[in-house]
Amino acid sequence: MTDVLLVARSHLLTALRERVTLFWFLVFPVFLLVVLSLVFGRIGEDGGITFDVAFVSFDRTAGGFSDAIEQVVDDLATPAEAGAKPLLSLRRPGSDEDLAEFLGAAMVDVRRGRLAAIVAVPAGFDQSVRARLSPTAAPEDVPLTLYVGSGNAASGMAASILEQVFAGVDRAILARVGRFDESAIVPHRTTWVGSDERETRYVDFLLPGIILMGFFTNGLFGIPGSILFSRDQRVLRRYWVTPLSVPRYLAGLSVGHLTLCVLQYAILYVVGRFALGASVSFAALDTALYLVLAAATFMAFGFLIASLVRTATAGMAVANILNMPMMFLSGLFFPITGLPAFLTAIVYANPVSYLADGLRASVGVESGVFSPILVVVVPLGWIVVSAAVAAWRLRWDVGR
């Protein structure tokens, strides 16, 4: 027993002492967790994002609708509470600046991505709105103009938020003129399916995925790396002249690997919980068991690769080729609906897809793509097949 434990300890110590391994298995997942949470977790949250927007009004009518628009935009540029960030960071023309020039310069900035959008009130706007309100006059529309950059996601978001805001202004104007009955407004509610009172937080959605990613890279790179490099560097042959048997060596490697997985989980959980406010819990027994299943599946997969490949370079090449497709075509980071047939096939063949689904299901953040039976049976199947192939091949290969 001590031999297995000491082999495990050697594997663990080596992994922790090699700075590169340390980075990829521990630091990088934490980095990814933090960056993605900070970026995507803030969408939709108040005080989350600030857009740089320019505002210019060519309509000089005082006390009119142009002023109302300006008021609305100003409100958006004021922080909701002290210390929070406003939705818009406004740029306006200076008191002496030529408005047309300002607009021209701002348009260039939008095109170049330095501004998210421009709100321009054209001359004659006020008149145009009044005309629309009057039942008789046939209006010539002078619309409020939003200048938006193409293909710029930030611009797109700013635009849709502003469009929403102005739709609300619509109602306000009509209400002021007495045409819209505020009391007859049909309220709208937001309800969530299931017992939750609000949407799952992004970090709760992300954390199980990142933990899984950590286990995955550990199994895919760590196991083949260790075995293949030790064999190539003639470290293993020193073991084979002692009573240590190949199965016991592999057992020790497995224990060391699983310990590393526990460490990964612990660090990610601590960062997720205490630094990013994740509330998802892994404490339930079925969740803990599922985590073990996931770690074991990736470990078996790593052994499979190590057993099918001759040299360390080939092993790392295979791992690098498989890494991206398996990780991204699994629903871990992007929704996997609406993919063309050949990619969907990969999704269904990919053990990571099932594990991602199953883990999320067990912590209550399920996406429900696969049935609860499949998410256990398919990984188990992978473990059995991988272990069988690896055991058969490694017996002959490793002991050389």
Partner: protein, 355 residues
């Protein structure tokens, strides 16, 4: 001259025979594009299916035309609230709406975290239009959106591809020095060259020439594939594109020098280069726009060479716009990096790997 030619020949052979490196240089960006193209292809126009339940007491007369005009892909009618809940839970529909004559109740799946924002925007639009219509009003506030910028760049994926190309150039350049050269140093094959009269510059020139050709070829290949497979459009300014690739490849090789100088063990240099490239990739506006980052990360992003390279590449491929001055300043900066660091490279890195 002869030394350079001979080295060029040797390095070319080495590169071509190294199947692994060959594969990674050409195929890697392609796999990237393929996967991301399909995964993120419709991020700009989400296709949303809505489930609708109208209570028997309520009339859907006003609602229907609004739903038709709301940009939904499909509206599925359901028989009961329970059915609607199931449909949302089972993902038969993306979100749901119950209209009981009193209020509009929008129903979402709490775990579809990445998509709900887009669905809720559609929902708000429906609610606003519905309220107006119900009181027989039209939107009074005329609003029009004008898209500024080239037609080519309307899709997010279009924006992403130049970023991926920039990343490929960066890692190629970094690894040429902090990878290829440092491996030669560690294996002492470099020593064997250095005890001959071969000028170190010849070796650097050979390595750089090959990198330039390879980077250019793989970039073009990737662009071609994205145009063919995903029907994207680019309008490439060939002069700017070529000069950008030339200067940035050399510039990133120069950056690789910094790594090679700082990292003690030659064998770790390649790993450090990979790590830095990976970290930069996430922070330089390639995967998500910089505006979405918190301000302290935005500052970091502005300090990364990859951010500027990606920006410049977007300009050169006609995807987004930039002032000419800015573009050429970026190109010149990379060239300056190269001019500054290549001599350092020749003197301090291309030397025997002994203390």
């Amino acid at each position: 001259m002869t030394a350079f030619r001979a080295l060029l020949r040797a390095e070319t052979r080495l590169f071509v025979r190294d199947r692994v490196a060959l594969f990674f240089t050409f195929l890697f960006p392609l796999i990237f594009i393929l996967i991301f193209g399909f995964l993120m292809g419709d991020v700009d126009e989400p296709e949303a299916t809505m489930g609708l339940y109208v209570a028997p007491a309520a009339s859907d007369e006003i609602l229907r035309p609004i739903l038709d005009a709301s940009g939904l892909d499909r509206v599925v009618d359901l028989e009961s609230v329970a059915d609607l809940h199931s449909a949302v839970t089972d993902r038969a529909v993306d979100f749901g709406l119950t209209w009981d004559g009193e209020a509009l109740d929008f129903l979402y799946h709490p775990n579809r975290v990445q998509e709900n924002y887009a669905f809720s925007q559609i929902a708000l639009g429906i609610a606003d239009a519905f309220n107006l219509r119900r009181q027989k009003l039209d939107p009074i506030l005329p609003v029009t959106s004008i898209h500024v910028g080239s037609e080519a760049s309307t899709r997010w994926f279009n924006q992403m591809i130049p970023g991926i190309l920039a990343f490929a150039i960066l890692s190629s350049g970094l690894l040429a020095v902090s990878g290829h050269l440092t491996t030669m140093k560690e294996r002492k094959t470099l020593d064997r060259l250095l005890v001959t009269p071969m000028p170190p510059v010849a070796l650097l020139a050979a390595i750089a020439s090959i990198r330039l050709v390879v980077v250019y070829a793989s970039t073009l290949l990737t662009l071609l594939v994205s145009v063919v497979l995903f029907d994207l459009a680019f309008s490439i300014d060939w002069l700017a594109f070529t000069l950008l690739i030339f200067c940035s490849t050399l510039g990133t090789m120069g950056l690789g020098t910094v790594i090679a100088l700082v990292v003690r063990r030659p064998s770790s240099a390649g790993n450090v280069a990979n790590v830095l490239a990976m970290v930069m990739m996430f922070l330089s506006g390639i995967y998500f726009p910089i505006e979405l980052m918190p301000s302290f990360l935005r500052v970091v992003s502005r300090a990364l060479p990859l951010t500027y390279l990606a920006d410049a590449m977007r300009f050169a491929t006609g995807v987004s716009d930039m002032s000419f001055v800015r573009f050429w300043v970026i190109v010149a900066s990379f060239l300056a990096l190269a001019l500054l660091l290549f001599p350092v490279l020749a003197r301090y890195v291309v030397r025997p790997g002994r203390r």
